[in-house]
Symmetry: C2
Subunit: 403 residues, 2 copies
């Protein structure tokens, strides 16, 4: 097996390191070439026998390279390179949920037609063996629900707010200083990253594509200390959770903050850790917990995929239904908090046909509603900058417990 790596950053360098350990001397696996943006930074790799190139096509057109690892990030260029690699019959291993969520249909067709493998264990849940065990069990067991805490940055922020009683903005600033959050953290805190991951998981486990634009997404950008305080006073916590569900021929999907009891497994997932959970007919509930990111955890997942290709255990091609399907938001009880006291009365008036429970002057619970209905009404009354916070109440939580 001869490998080309697109991107020699944190994960790409970790893959090289793992494959250089003595464990891999017995395998006929060699990383031949890596795409970098600047050769001088990576001279130490060159000294260890790795070819460096600035031209991706030196990898993609190399007949000796049978497997391409894409760990460069972004969407447009990875799309171009993955497509090209698969069309040449090269196997592809990627950690890139963004490009997968957008282009999986085209990738799967190319992989099948060119008898190439397309594996992506590292794309969801970093170091957690999640996709492969679920994919394999989906051969036997009908899964009808997948959920998870699948973004380390947002979970780190919420954990710190919960433990230390801090405001969102202060924690975000700290996280950025420590490198736990990007300078532009939008994908993480607005829920986009998790929506991509739940879309990839749904394609893999349900064999049904749930497009990003149909997934209800509410992030944590507007959460305040007062929201966490209300939850904690009631023995609860707030977590950003992705969930997709298939029942009665009806798909539901959402990424949104959830208020859940502290004595639940999800509430114990702290800091940058992730968890993925699936429910099925034989396996009523299985969960997988571990590091959501990190150099060696993520690289370990990439190498796991590489070994499956090496051992010819990755041949089965996913048959995913990409036809357009209505994806519904989740019907539940929702916590709503809005600091503008005039607007909150206007919003409550709009929601008068629902059962509302007042928590204090700025916050209430609306029962049996969807977040999209609440957001539509908030738009109608022009809440400035959409500056309100909504969170779903977990099924195990009774609204009155928050009083």
């Amino acid at each position: 097996m001869k490998i080309g790596i697109l991107g020699l950053g944190t994960v790409g360098g970790g893959v090289w390191d793992i494959l250089s350990t003595t464990k891999f001397q017995e395998y006929d696996i060699k990383v031949k070439t890596a795409l970098v943006r600047n050769k001088s930074k990576y001279i130490s790799y060159e000294e260890q026998g790795l070819n460096l190139t600035l031209d991706p096509y030196e990898i993609l057109n190399d007949p000796e390279i049978d497997t391409v690892v894409e760990v460069m990030g972004g969407i447009d260029k990875p799309y171009e390179y993955i497509k090209y690699a698969l069309s040449q019959g090269k196997h592809v291993v990627t950690a890139n949920k963004a490009v997968l969520a957008k282009h999986m249909e085209e990738f799967l067709a190319l992989a099948k037609n060119n008898n190439a493998a397309l594996l992506y264990e590292a794309s969801v849940g970093g170091g957690i063996p999640l996709i492969k065990p679920l994919k394999q069990n989906a051969r036997i067991n009908n899964f009808y629900e997948i959920s998870g805490i699948l973004n380390g940055t947002s979970n780190f922020i919420l954990s710190k707010m919960s433990k230390e009683g801090l405001e969102f903005a202060d924690v975000l600033k700290q996280a950025q200083e420590k490198g736990y959050a990007e300078q532009d953290p939008s994908d993480d805190i607005d829920g986009t990253d998790m929506a991509r991951k739940i879309s990839v998981l749904s394609s893999t486990i349900f064999k049904k594509h749930l497009p990003l634009e149909h997934i209800q997404i509410n992030g944590i950008r507007h959460i305040e200390k007062q929201d966490m305080d209300i939850a904690k006073k009631a023995g609860c916590d707030i977590k950003l959770i992705a969930k997709s569900n298939y029942e009665n021929n009806n798909y539901k999907a959402a990424v949104e903050p959830v208020i859940l009891k502290q004595n639940s497994i999800f509430a114990q997932v702290s800091d940058e850790y992730n968890i993925g959970m699936a429910k099925g007919d034989n396996l009523s509930e299985v969960s997988f917990y571990g590091e959501g990111a990190g150099r060696y955890a993520t690289a370990n997942a990439v190498v796991s995929d590489l070994l499956d290709i090496y051992n010819h255990e990755a041949i089965e091609h996913l048959a995913v239904d990409f036809s357009s399907t209505k994806v519904n938001p989740i019907l539940a009880d929702y916590y709503v908090r809005l600091n503008d006291t005039n607007k909150i009365e206007e919003l409550k008036a709009k929601l008068s046909s629902y059962n509302l429970i007042n928590l204090h002057k700025g916050a209430f619970i609306a029962e049996k509603i969807t977040s999209s209905e609440i957001k539509n009404y908030a738009d109608e009354i022009n809440v400035a900058n959409q500056n309100y916070f909504i969170a779903r109440l977990d099924d195990a939580l009774i609204p009155s417990e928050l009083l």
Copy 2:
């Protein structure tokens, strides 16, 4: 693939049911014959086309049967049949941790010499995909610790004591009435079942056999409400936990009650649920959670193994080191409770070289000690019926937190 099933009880019947669903029409898999003790009870299976036999050798000598599923329980007969099947080159899938913990060396040699697969996903953690993901990751990542709550009966009893404030004997009686506990529950409550499982996991993940007789085992037979009360007052819980560890060329293994904080993942594993956790160099911590038993969860694991054999993904033979190695008990802080007030003073005197923290007249904590030392001293002073309770304090717990 033609299968013979040894034992058509809960799990065996579940395997038949799953393989009879429409999902499996596309596979060339057929269950041909099942061993039963009494044909009349299983006539409905015969009507669906399954041969029933009272003679195991009708399966073991059938040249058409290439794969044997052993789900009959016990040790001696499964040992005989599995050995025979492997020596005939038949693949074996078993859910039987007792026979594996005792005879794995012989089984692995036979499997290798006869080019047969030996798989046992169902033997540990019932429906949790645990063994395969760990085994696969062990190819890449050096795991140095495995731990888990791996017995549903004992965990059900401890959960109920914790939630409802009941005495051990009352909960055990209820569990037996509901069928959650056997009439002779010794293997479950004394920790033997979990010791077998941690031995099987250690062989699989560390590639090192830790024999049962070298694993320190303390069960929950002598736990009382007062022990749980002390833990709960301190925001803790008590769980029966198996753990094995490999560091600095030194193996440690124990199955024992552990006092751990309620805000930990293990404390959230309730009732008959199980969890398995592994720590390694690339994967700092991964956990797998789900149903520890149950007809379809366990049968799902058996069928998962069968599909791996069907897809020729089970060929790699485990190379386990069976040489004799010293296995040490765990050095930690231990909670000790003894109702006989004379004996407890005698025991404390014996332990005078250790730092002791008194909790109340019948209970104390001994710091930095092993459970085997405490048990040896208790034996020396002849505690009647070994009627004392000891529990390890989790690493995250400081002894003074229990005051």
